[in-house]
Subunit: 151 residues, 2 copies
DNA sequence: TATTGTTATACTCTATAACTATA
DNA sequence: TATAGTTATAGAGTATAACAATA
C-alpha cells in the first residue's frame, strides 16, 4: 500500500532530501567497505587534490565547521591515510598531506563509488546526468547565497 | 581562495549531498519560524493528506524507522497539531488525525517553503525544474531498488 | 507466532561557546 | 587583537535489539 505524498513532492527541497537519503545509504555502505565515512572520504579527496592544505581551508571547502574537523583529521591520521606537519610559516597551523596508503585507499574507494554512481543514475542518459549535475550546483549556489544574505 | 574539489564533483552522490545540505539549512530556518522541524513537517503533511493513518504506514511512506517516529508523533501531539485515537479495528495501533490548528500551521509553513523553493531554483526555467524533479525521483528509486536487492 | 508501538542505546553529523598557543 | 586548532557540549537524525500489549 502506497500513501500519497504529492504535497511534499511539489517541493524540490523534499525531493532533494529523499534522493540524498536514498543514495547516501548506498555510498555509506560502499565507503564502509574501505574503512571510510562520507566525511573522511571527502576530506581525504581534498587533501590529495591539494596537498599541504590547512584544516581551516579544508573546512571552508567542504562546509565543515572547524571543531568537527578535529576528529575527522584525527581518524585519518590514526588510520595512516594522512600525515600532519606543523606549517613552517605559521606554527599554529598544520599542513595536511596524504600518505601513499591514503592515496591508494582513496583510489580504491573511488572505483567503488563510481560504480554506485553509475547504478543510481541508471535510466538517465549522459545529457540528463550533466543537466542534473548542473541543476544541483545552481541550487547549491542559490541556497548558500541566501545563507550569506541572512548573515 | 577556492580549493578545487573536481574529483568529488564528478560524483552525483557528492553533488546531491552538497545541494541538499545547502537547501536543508534554508528549509530548517524556514520551518523553525513555524515551530516545526523537517521530520515533524513531513509527518504532519502526510497525516493531513491521509487522515487516520497508522504510525507504521507513516514511517514506511517517509522512510523513517518506527522507533524514531515515537518522539516525532509525541512532539506533534503535544504541540496540538495532531491527535491520536486507538484504532477501532486494531487496538495495538493508533490512528493519526490532524487538528484544525495542525492544518492551519501546515498551510502557513507551506507558503514559506514554496517561497524558499522558488529562490533555490532561481536561474532554472520550468522545464529544467521539472527535469530536476524527475531526475531526483529516478535516482531515489534506483538507490532504494539497490537497497532492496542488498537485503 | 507475528505485529504495533515503545524503550533503551549508540553512532554520525552538525552547531556554538570558550579555551590555548601562536601571530 | 586576531587567527588556528582544540575542548566541551548539545541537538537532530538515524540505526538496531529487546520488550509489552494485542492480533
Amino acid at each position: 500500500m502506497i500513501l500519497p505524498d504529492e504535497t511534499l513532492r511539489a517541493l524540490i527541497g523534499y525531493c532533494l532530501h529523499r534522493a540524498q537519503a536514498s543514495t547516501n545509504l548506498r555510498f555509506k555502505t560502499a565507503l564502509a567497505a574501505h574503512g571510510l565515512r562520507r566525511t573522511t572520504f571527502s576530506c581525504l579527496s581534498l587533501i590529495i587534490e591539494n596537498p599541504g592544505l590547512k584544516q581551516g581551508q579544508l573546512g571552508e571547502a567542504l562546509a565543515i565547521e572547524r571543531p568537527n574537523l578535529v576528529k575527522i583529521v584525527e581518524d585519518l591520521t590514526c588510520a595512516g591515510l594522512i600525515r600532519r606537519e606543523t606549517s613552517k610559516t605559521d606554527s599554529r597551523a598544520y599542513a595536511l598531506y596524504p600518505t601513499d596508503e591514503g592515496t591508494a585507499r582513496f583510489t580504491e574507494a573511488m572505483v567503488t563509488l563510481r560504480m554506485v554512481d553509475t547504478v543510481v543514475t541508471e535510466g538517465l542518459n549522459a545529457a540528463e546526468v550533466a543537466a542534473l549535475r548542473s541543476a544541483l550546483e545552481k541550487v547549491e549556489k542559490n541556497a548558500s547565497r541566501i545563507s550569506e544574505a541572512a548573515d
